[in-house]
Symmetry: C2
């Protein structure tokens, strides 16, 4: 987005200035700041507001800071029993739950999640809650191992033999992911795109028509089910954390987060 | 598909050899010959049969011939009141009706059809039956004029100012169509792909994710509603015909059909 400003859009914080009923309370916050005036806001599609600002991404400073300003309407109270280290996953977990707003999964449906990054592992756990038969294919044995105690199947990409699934979630974050995903979705199946890879893809679209594939773009999601899943311990997020840095060590933290295979890095002001 | 054989997959014919109740009857026929044994056939997805032959396209000779062999299960009787010149549109009109199997259009939904070829004009008419607000954008004034007596809006591409629609049907048959279509679909809108352009596209997929677009591949469709629409004169197909050739003039006919702006060319054995 060519953004210039304070980055960061996943946070948990304490309200220091705002409505009395929120002051001193722990909150998480939705990242799309909507105008409440445009056609999309009126149609209850605020996350697609045509004039939106997006925290740390578009026209609004983000959360790699001691303080951040967030519209009251975007805030959600954090249940007491949730640790900061769990609540901070609400935003990416909501993005995983967005898939369940878009498609109806049935127990036994075969679902493939491509990518074992943070988003891939969260998507797999959210989708598994439907009783679907979920497989995650990734490049990092140590990340796939994090799913060991779940009922989610895992495979290393190099050792995996492509087969066809009812639903494929593309969460690789790489330019090759789309092509790989197209090869793994059955005729009349659904391919859910989670990666916002900026480069142009060389995509043959004819197979999409011939096999009548549905491709769904999927971005930010609803916070309420994500918070509920965290509170009820229906998903496991603490093993996804690699290290916590002080905000003053922010540059080291960003460098660490950029290492291949790194899990979630947290910053604490 | 690298097909080598007799081309052609849109036809109306008379049964000369087959079950007694069909002999001498006029029929049209579905083009996917399914195996009846694979997983897709068992799931009632015969048009996606993994071992299918496709008339004039894949492993089965087509209809640019005096005689063609078609499985009995693929045949549909042609109502008496339909002329050959109307019935021959059943297959492409069925492909247009396939869209209505895939999406639910409501009266007032804003629908854009990109492309004023035969398929574009048929799609526009089929979709208009839902009461949706349909606009066709194309390159040929004389083709767009064919829709004059319908309630379908038309515009020439060069004079058209892009705006956003709830549904966009890409029926240009050209490699640029996808990009154009992406620019004309609103956030959370649906883009229906009808063109099977063989070349690879350079497609930026990030906007698809950010705007949560649904992309639907759409191919062959159901014959029954197409035949009914033809019989009840709910769509107008005769103006789409440009010329009829004898089969012996087939090469001239194919050359004519390939001219820019040509409407439907018919062959009669």
């Amino acid at each position: 987005m060519g953004f210039c400003g304070v980055p960061g859009h996943e946070f948990v914080g304490t309200v220091t200035d705002g409505p009395k009923h929120l002051e001193g309370k722990r909150v998480v916050g939705e990242i799309n700041f909507s105008c409440e005036r445009c056609e999309f806001c009126h149609r209850d599609l605020r996350r697609h507001c045509a004039a939106r600002k997006v925290m740390g991404i578009l026209d609004a400073d983000g959360v790699f800071a001691e303080y951040v300003a967030v519209p009251v309407a975007n805030l959600h109270l954090v249940p007491e029993k949730l640790a900061d280290e769990e609540a901070v996953f609400t935003e990416p977990l909501a993005a995983a739950f967005e898939i369940l707003e878009q498609v109806q999964l049935e127990p036994g449906d075969e679902v493939l999640v491509l990518g074992d990054g943070k988003l891939g592992l969260l998507c797999a756990q959210a989708l598994k809650l439907t009783g679907a038969d979920v497989t995650v294919v990734g490049k990092h044995a140590e990340k796939l191992k994090l799913l060991k105690r779940s009922l989610i199947r895992t495979a290393l990409l190099d050792e995996w033999k492509v087969r066809q699934f009812d639903f494929v979630v593309e969460a690789t974050g790489s330019a090759d992911g789309f092509q790989l995903a197209m090869g793994a979705v059955r005729p009349r199946g659904t391919l859910i795109l989670k990666s916002t890879v900026a480069s142009k893809h060389h995509v043959p679209l004819a197979p999409l028509v011939i096999n009548e594939i549905t491709v769904l773009g999927s971005r930010c999601g609803p916070f309420a089910p994500a918070l509920e899943a965290l509170e009820k311990r229906m998903v496991s997020v603490l093993p996804l954390i690699e290290k916590e840095y002080a905000l003053s060590q922010g540059l080291d933290a960003v460098a660490h987060a950029g290492r291949s295979g790194a899990r979630k890095i947290l910053l604490r002001p």
